[in-house]
Amino acid sequence: MSVEQSSSQNPPLTANVNKVNLTKKEYTGSPSTLCTGCGHDSITAHIITATYQNGLHPFEVAKMSGIGCSSKTPAYFMSKSFGFNSMHGRMAPVTTGAKVANGNLHMIGMSGDGDTASIGLGGFAHLIRRNLQMTYIVANNGVYGLTKGQFSATADKGAKQKNGAYNPFDTIDICSLALNLGCTFVARSFSGDAKQLVPLIQAAQKHRGTALIDVISPCITFNNHDGSTKSYTYVREHDVSLQELGLIQPMQEIKVDYPEGSTQKVVLPDGSELYLKKLGNHEHTVTDKMAAMKLLHDSAKAGEILTGMFYIDETASNLNEELNLVDAGLVHLNEAQLRPSKDDFNKLMAEFN
């Protein structure tokens, strides 16, 4: 495939602004207070790039998180967006309430592996089951960074802690779990891989349901040593990219040539096109869920950290659609719209005498 402009270079309308006339600087946040070299900071940068390129306006975005180093990141991007740094493991239900209350909000969620796969596993599962429309990023470092390096539920079996303790339990693979739960957008990436992660975040932001991206994001302070399976070195050595990705915005006049068979195109709800060019030797169709499950299973068995787009389904309805809500959102409804008439009231009273 040759996409003339790769997604990370999607042209803004004029040199320095995007389609909502904002510069990239207007997507930045407060300075990060994370450790220098923390993978999470790279994810922050990629969120900024992706959101800027998608032309989402900060005013329409709500940044959601739980608790953890990863969950602090919403403070470090898009200061002009509302942020909700909630409780440990509670990003999913809090976001559910906010999104149902105001369907016009665009939800970007940032959670950790502890936040999602340990304390928040229940909420995570049920969010997916309801297919709440949001971008759900897990900054996955295999440890609890903020509480100083204890293993999380995504630590690999046999992985070593800094103090030498090793993890005897099987890992929870967030992507496999999400697939099993019916997640309609499942991807994995690496915090250091802008080329792959930026278009994935862009596609996630356009998805109609829960878009999950499990991002391996090394903890430089507590999980970057020999024996760790989530260190920069280990991940670089074992990362197998499934596809090369390119995202083309709607209305962008771009020509794409690709040899039959090796590249898939997924049309996203806003008309954008996500191109997925096969890399390496895994054959995979991203709309085939069973194949995705098998692929994840086989590659994990082979010791690979497989990254890329695993599954997407743009046909399933999301929670707000299922709830059949008024378009304007529930938050601004007034007395006239919410309070039944006096006539109805009298009829109601009559039912009880």
């Binding site: 740094n85 239900p93 309430g97 209350a101 105001n102 938050v331 039944p340 009231f345």
Partner: protein, 623 residues
């Protein structure tokens, strides 16, 4: 002859379909103008365990529970012998003799000893006549005792028939077979029991003309509907589930826009951790947001309650209390969550709580809770209980709410234009309440960052002691403001009690009081029993003034009340006297002026138990 003055207990087996028959009986009395109350005592079980339904009819409106019944309908073989012991001497024990067989001699001996009237009825032939269907037989057997009672109590038959029709939603065939069963019971009583002298009778009155009869959960659901609730998340738990289920029904009917879309959302969450978080998310976004639960769920919501307090998110928890701890006796009533609700969570936290004492207040507080939550930007907890929530109570027809919603200090984009800086956690009006903006507000200054960790008035992260302390001190100031906004107590003296049963007396000050009157403080579903206890005490020469607390934080007039009475008895439906303890810690200068009256066996409180406790303590005090 006791006209419109009797207590009936009906014992059946859970799942036997007695509920509709019992409602028909209760509602017939109600429609005849007889003041009535109805209470269902049921097990935590779907079918097979004993269930009782209590009906109290009382001409003046004293319809709280009484310990003993005048008339018993015994339809449960397992409890026949024990049931008989709950009758007053001289009472009537009407029982299904088909079930008695070997117990017959015991029953007869016991009846003799207690001077009861035994009325054995063989229900089987009567049921057999009314239908051939085995399945229906099991259900209509209950209508036969309704028929028997219709004759004995001289119920108005037109009203009874209309009530049967209403109960079965005008489904012709069902109505027919139920009417027939009732008729057979009636004829049986006419033919076989004509010689029995039955001293209890009902009589038509005009008393209930402007009244309704409803359970508190339904009233609460109506409150949510009219109070502009837009978001609900819940996890089913008795005795709160029926509130949400009723609300869903109502909202589906009354909250559609012209195109059929919903102006409300209800999400059944995966647990209470999630339901309260959803409610927080929605409240933050600007919805009028609520969850209903009971004790175990309230406990699970604790972390979020503290988060809501510190981040100042408006939301409501409606707690229908039941006996605890943990699952406790889930189908029995109590007021045991008061302390945990007020202080729910960790750290420096306290929440305004509303304490509805009747169905009218369930309706009103169902609306007011949202106003208060948005005005104060706080979690507001409404404490109902199983007795109030699930049992049937009479009340004057509610009035149509005309008051606009109080959405509190929400700044729109236009408002933001007018100010130089927006401080999410400031104190612009010196009342402890900050301003807020709603996510999605299209303005440079609108956004802020919500976090449970230390934040300063601009909502920025802080670990500075003075900045943190500013916030928690302001929250304490807000608590003082809440005192001016929550519903004040209602005051009634013993001279006004009788009147208060029939009319709304909403005195937020004591109108008359004599220096000898003792004080009574109670809250929630104890109300009717307290009023009856006041009458019983008056009969014994003790005058009393009653202060019914309707909210926490306490208003200062409560202190005046305590100071103005030689002694005040604080009535709680929990073991440790939680209201008593809260009052003592709030008004510690008057600790010697209050004593605690407690009722905590899982049954609704009675006037007798209140009176007896007070008499014992009064005897000591006045010695």
């Amino acid at each position: 002859m006791n006209k419109n003055n009797f207590v009936i207990t009906i014992a059946t087996v859970n799942g036997s379909g007695s509920q509709s028959a019992n409602s028909i009986l209760l509602k017939t009395l109600f429609r005849m103008g007889v003041p009535v109350g109805g209470k269902n005592v049921f097990p935590s079980n779907i079918a097979g365990l004993p269930t009782w339904f209590w009906i109290r009819a009382e001409e003046n409106g004293y319809v709280a529970r009484r310990d003993k019944a005048d008339i018993f309908i015994a339809m449960n073989a397992q409890t026949l012998v024990e049931d008989m012991k709950t009758l007053k001497p001289g009472g009537f024990f009407i029982y299904n003799s088909d079930l008695a067989s070997s117990m017959q001699p015991t029953l007869e001996a016991q009846a003799k000893e207690m001077s009861l009237h035994l009325i054995p009825i063989s229900f089987k032939p009567l049921v057999d006549q009314s239908t051939d269907s085995v399945k229906i037989k099991k259900l209509v057997i209950n209508m036969v005792y309704v028929g028997v009672l219709a004759k004995l109590l001289k119920l108005d038959l037109d009203i009874l028939n209309k009530t049967i029709a209403d109960q079965f939603d005008n489904k012709e065939s069902v109505i027919l077979v139920n009417k027939k069963a009732a008729e057979l019971g009636y004829l049986y009583a006419e033919q076989q029991l004509s010689s029995v002298y039955f001293p209890f009778q009902s009589q038509l009155t005009e008393k209930n003309k402007d009244k309704i009869i409803m359970d508190g959960n339904t009233a609460g659901a109506l409150g949510w509907l009219f109070g502009g609730c837009t978001f609900t998340a819940w996890y089913p738990i008795t005795p709160s589930s029926s509130l949400v289920e009723k609300y869903i029904q109502l909202a589906q009917k009354y909250r559609k826009d012209e195109t059929g879309k919903n102006r409300f959302a209800v999400v059944q969450a995966e647990d209470e951790l999630a339901s309260i978080c959803m409610v927080l998310g929605a409240g933050w976004a600007g919805a009028r947001s609520v969850t209903a639960t009971s004790g175990p769920g309230l406990s699970l919501m604790a972390e979020s309650a503290g988060f809501a307090y510190f981040t100042e998110i408006p939301c409501v928890i409606w707690d229908v209390q039941r006996v605890g701890p943990s699952t406790g006796m889930p189908t029995r009533t109590a007021q045991g969550d008061l302390t945990s609700a007020v202080f729910l969570s960790h750290g420096d936290t306290k929440h305004p709580c509303l304490l509805p004492g009747n169905i009218k207040e369930c309706f009103e507080f169902g609306q007011e809770a949202f106003d208060l939550a948005e005005r104060l930007q706080q979690l507001v907890i409404v404490l109902s209980d199983l007795d109030l929530g699930m049992n049937l109570w009479m009340e004057k027809k509610f009035s149509y709410p005309e008051k606009p919603f109080d959405r509190g200090k929400i700044l729109s984009a236009a408002d933001l234009d007018k100010i130089s800086q927006f401080e999410r956690y400031g104190d612009p009006d010196q009342d402890g309440i900050p301003s807020r903006t709603l996510p999605g507000t299209w303005h440079e200054k609108a956004a802020y960052f919500t976090r449970g960790s230390g934040h300063n008035s601009k909502a920025n992260y802080t670990e500075k002691s003075d900045e943190y302390q500013f916030i928690v001190d302001r929250l304490a100031k807000k608590w003082e403001t809440a005192k001016t906004l929550v519903p004040k107590p209602i005051y009634i003296s013993s001279a006004e009690v009788e009147k208060s049963l029939d009319e709304d007396i909403n005195n937020t000050q004591l109108s008359v009081s004599s220096s000898q009157s003792i004080g009574l403080i109670a809250f929630g579903s104890s109300d009717l029993a307290v009023k009856e206890a006041m009458k019983l005490l008056t009969d014994k020469g003790i005058k009393s003034d009653y202060c019914r607390i309707r909210a926490v934080p306490f208003t200062s007039d409560i202190l005046d009340f305590l100071k103005n009475h030689p002694i005040t008895y604080v009535i709680d439906q929990n073991r440790d006297g939680q209201m008593y303890e809260l009052l003592k810690s709030e008004f510690n200068q008057i600790c010697h002026l209050i004593k605690s009256v407690k009722h905590y066996d899982g049954t609704p409180i009675t006037a007798d138990s209140i009176m007896n406790s007070i008499l014992t303590m009064e005897n000591k005090r006045c010695q």
